[in-house]
C-alpha cells in the first residue's frame, strides 16, 4: 500500500495552534498532469472530511474512483491535460499523512488520542510546504468544497499571495451550531462503541466499526436534501413486497445508509473522524483576527468565486453569501453563483452540469488572466 502513496517528509518545524511544535512528519499527496514551463497552470485542491489525496482516476488503495473524478481529469472541468493538479491528505487524516493511526516514535504504537488536536490552520500550513517542494510559487487556482472550502479560505487568509484565484465551494468562515451538533453526533457514535476503547483500538488491530458506520450515516443524511432523498428513495422497500415486521432494512433509504456506513469503515480510521471533525468545529476565521473577517481578507489580490447550492442545508447559500459580504467589505475581488439543485451539499461531488460548467468557465478565464499578468510582469522587469 505504502509504495502507491507519495509522501513528503515535512522537516520544517510547524507550530500547531495547540502550541505544540512538530517536525519531520509525513504529508501524503498526489499530483495529476504536468507543471508547465511558465508554471502558470498549478491548481491545488483541498479535500473534505472523508476525502484524501486521490482526487481523480482510481484510488490505488480503495480501488474506487477518486473522490472528485466528476470534476478533475483529462477533458474534465479541471482538465488535467491542461492543468497540474495537486492534492494532499490533511494532517489528522488516514491516507498516509501524519494522523492518529500513524506510529508515535516515542512509544512505537499508534498515536490514538496522544495525537495533538489539530486545526484547519494547521492542516493548511502543512500543505503550504508541499508547494515549496513542488516548486510552485504561485498557484493559478485553489479549490475545495465543504471542509476543503474552509481550508481554502484559511489558506488565502494565511498566505494572501499564494494563489491567483480561489473557488471556495459550499462552505463557511465558521462552523454553525447545527454543524457542530452533527459532528458531535458522529463523534459520540464512535466513542460510545466499546471497541473504540479511548482510541486504543488500533493496538488490537480492530476498528469500532459500528460506531464509525453510524457516524458516516449521520454525515450522509446531512449531505442530501429532503427533496433529493424523497425523490431517490421515497418510501420504496428494499427488494421486498411488504413490511417484514422486523428491524431489518425494510426501506431502501435504510439499506442505503447501512451500505454507506459499512463501506466507509473499510477505508477510514475512526480516530481520524474525531480529529478532523474537531478541526472543523474549531474553525472560526474571524476569531483569528482582531478586526474580524474584514481583517482576515485584507489586502487580498486573489480573485474569488464562491459557489453555493440552493438545497444545501449544511452550508447554506446564506452562509456562503456571508463570506461574499466579508470579502466585499475587505475590498476583495469576489464573484458569487448559486447553483439551483435538489441534490444538497453533495452536489459538488456529483455530475452537476451547471456547477461543473461554472467551475470550468471560471478556471479557464482565470488561466488567461494569470498568463497575461505574468507576461506584463515579464515585460515590466525587462524594460
Amino acid at each position: 500500500m505504502s509504495e502507491k502513496i507519495k509522501k513528503l517528509n515535512v522537516s520544517k518545524p510547524l507550530l500547531l495552534d495547540c502550541k505544540k511544535t512538530v517536525k519531520d512528519f509525513p504529508l501524503a499527496y498526489e499530483t495529476y498532469g504536468n507543471l508547465n514551463k511558465d508554471k502558470d497552470n498549478a491548481i491545488l485542491v483541498f479535500h473534505a472530511l472523508t476525502g484524501d489525496q486521490f482526487v481523480s482516476g482510481t484510488n490505488p488503495v480503495t480501488k474506487k474512483d477518486g473522490w472528485w473524478v466528476t470534476a478533475v481529469g483529462p477533458g474534465k472541468a479541471i482538465d488535467t491535460n491542461k492543468y497540474f493538479v495537486i492534492c494532499a491528505n490533511v494532517i489528522g487524516g488516514c491516507m498516509g499523512s501524519w494522523g492518529p493511526k500513524e506510529i508515535d516514535k516515542k512509544t512505537n504504537e499508534p498515536f490514538g488520542l496522544n495525537f495533538p488536536v489539530i486545526t484547519i490552520k494547521d492542516m493548511v500550513k502543512a500543505q503550504e510546504t508541499l508547494l515549496d517542494h513542488l516548486g510552485v510559487d504561485k498557484l493559478l487556482c485553489a479549490a475545495g468544497g465543504s471542509m476543503g472550502g474552509m481550508q481554502l479560505l484559511q489558506f488565502c487568509s494565511t498566505f494572501p499571495n499564494r494563489t491567483f484565484s480561489a473557488v471556495p465551494i459550499a462552505c463557511s468562515t465558521n462552523h454553525s451550531a447545527q454543524n457542530i451538533a452533527l459532528n458531535e453526533l458522529a463523534r459520540q457514535a464512535i466513542m460510545s462503541d466499546p471497541i473504540w476503547d479511548n482510541g486504543k483500538y488500533l493496538k488490537k488491530n480492530i476498528q469500532p466499526k459500528n460506531g464509525l458506520a453510524v457516524a458516516r450515516m449521520v454525515g450522509h443524511i446531512s449531505y442530501l436534501s429532503k427533496k433529493g432523498m424523497q425523490e431517490k428513495f421515497g418510501r420504496k422497500l428494499q427488494e421486498k413486497a411488504d413490511y417484514e415486521f422486523s428491524f431489518d432494512a425494510d426501506f431502501q433509504v435504510e439499506s442505503y445508509l447501512r451500505h454507506q456506513g459499512f463501506a466507509f469503515v473499510e477505508r477510514f480510521d475512526a480516530n481520524s473522524i474525531l480529529y478532523i471533525t474537531r478541526a472543523m468545529d474549531y474553525f472560526d476565521l474571524s476569531k483569528q483576527f482582531k478586526g474580524g473577517l474584514v481583517e482576515a481578507f485584507k489586502n487580498q489580490k486573489t480573485k474569488f468565486l464562491i459557489i453555493s447550492f440552493s438545497s444545501d442545508w449544511l452550508y447554506t447559500t446564506k452562509e456562503n453569501k456571508d463570506t461574499v459580504i466579508a470579502l466585499n467589505a475587505a475590498g476583495a475581488d469576489v464573484s458569487f453563483a448559486e447553483i439551483k439543485t435538489d441534490k444538497g451539499h453533495d452536489s459538488f461531488l456529483i455530475n452537476e452540469t451547471e456547477f461543473l460548467k461554472t467551475l470550468k468557465g471560471f478556471i479557464d478565464s482565470m488561466h488567461v488572466k494569470f498568463k497575461n499578468e505574468k507576461n506584463e510582469k515579464r515585460i515590466q522587469s525587462n524594460s
Binding site: K321, I325, V334, G361, F362, S365
Partner: protein, 197 residues
C-alpha cells in the same frame, strides 16, 4: 454595443472602481475594462447572465439589488451604474439611496415614459405602450414604477440629489438635457441618463 452604454462609458474617467448593478451578461463591464482600464464589479439577478460573466472572467455577484446592496461598504466605489432597472424595483427610492451611499457618483438610466410614441399610444390608441425600449405588455412587464425624464428630474430636486449631468438618447443621437430644454427633450428622448453626485 448600445448607444446608451457608450454614453455611460464616456461619462466615466479612466482607472477607477465601478459597480455595475444589474450588469446583465457583462457587455458594459467588458467594454469598461478594455477601453478605460476600469476595475469593475457586477451584481446580477439572472443566473444565466451571472454564468456568462464568469465565463468571461468578469467579477459578478449573483444577487438581488433590491435586498442585497447592503453588502457593499459606504463609498467603496467611484461610480455605481444602474441601467434601466430602477423602475422595476418595489422601492426605487430605497435602492437609489443605497446606490448614492455606495458610490461617490451614480449613473442611472431610465426608459422615458414621456417619449412621444409612448404618449400617443395612450392618447390616440388608448392602449398601454409597447415600444423598443418598453417591449413588454401590461400583464408581463417587470416595470412597476414607470417615470418620465421630467419626473426623475423633479424627484432629484425634491430629494436634494445633486444632478451633475443629464443626457437624452434617441437611437444614435444624444443631447444634453438642462432645465431650459427639459420639456422638449422629455418628448423626444427614449432614454434618459442621469449623472448624480
Amino acid at each position: 454595443m448600445k448607444k446608451e452604454f457608450r454614453v455611460i462609458a464616456d461619462l466615466l474617467p479612466k482607472n477607477i472602481r465601478v459597480l455595475d448593478v444589474g450588469c446583465g451578461d457583462g457587455s458594459l463591464m467588458s467594454h469598461l475594462i478594455k477601453e478605460k482600464n476600469i476595475e469593475v464589479r457586477g451584481l446580477e439577478i439572472i443566473e444565466e447572465n451571472v454564468k456568462k460573466c464568469i465565463y468571461k472572467g468578469l467579477s459578478v455577484i449573483e444577487g438581488n439589488a433590491e435586498t442585497e446592496l447592503h453588502q457593499f461598504p459606504t463609498k467603496s466605489f467611484d461610480f455605481v451604474i444602474l441601467s434601466q432597472t430602477l423602475q422595476a424595483f418595489y422601492n426605487p427610492e430605497k435602492v437609489l439611496k443605497d446606490l448614492l451611499r455606495i458610490g461617490k457618483s451614480v449613473i442611472i438610466s431610465i426608459p422615458n415614459f414621456g417619449y412621444w410614441k409612448v404618449r400617443t399610444s395612450l392618447l390616440i390608441f388608448g392602449k398601454m405602450p409597447v415600444t423598443k425600449t418598453l417591449p413588454n405588455s401590461w400583464y408581463n412587464t417587470p416595470n412597476l414604477h414607470m417615470c418620465t425624464i421630467k419626473d426623475f428630474f423633479d424627484f432629484c430636486i425634491e430629494k436634494k440629489i445633486n444632478i451633475n449631468k443629464v443626457v437624452g438618447v434617441n437611437e444614435e443621437s444624444t443631447s444634453e438635457i438642462t432645465k431650459s430644454n427639459l420639456e422638449i427633450k422629455n418628448l423626444f428622448s427614449k432614454v434618459g441618463i442621469f449623472l448624480l453626485k
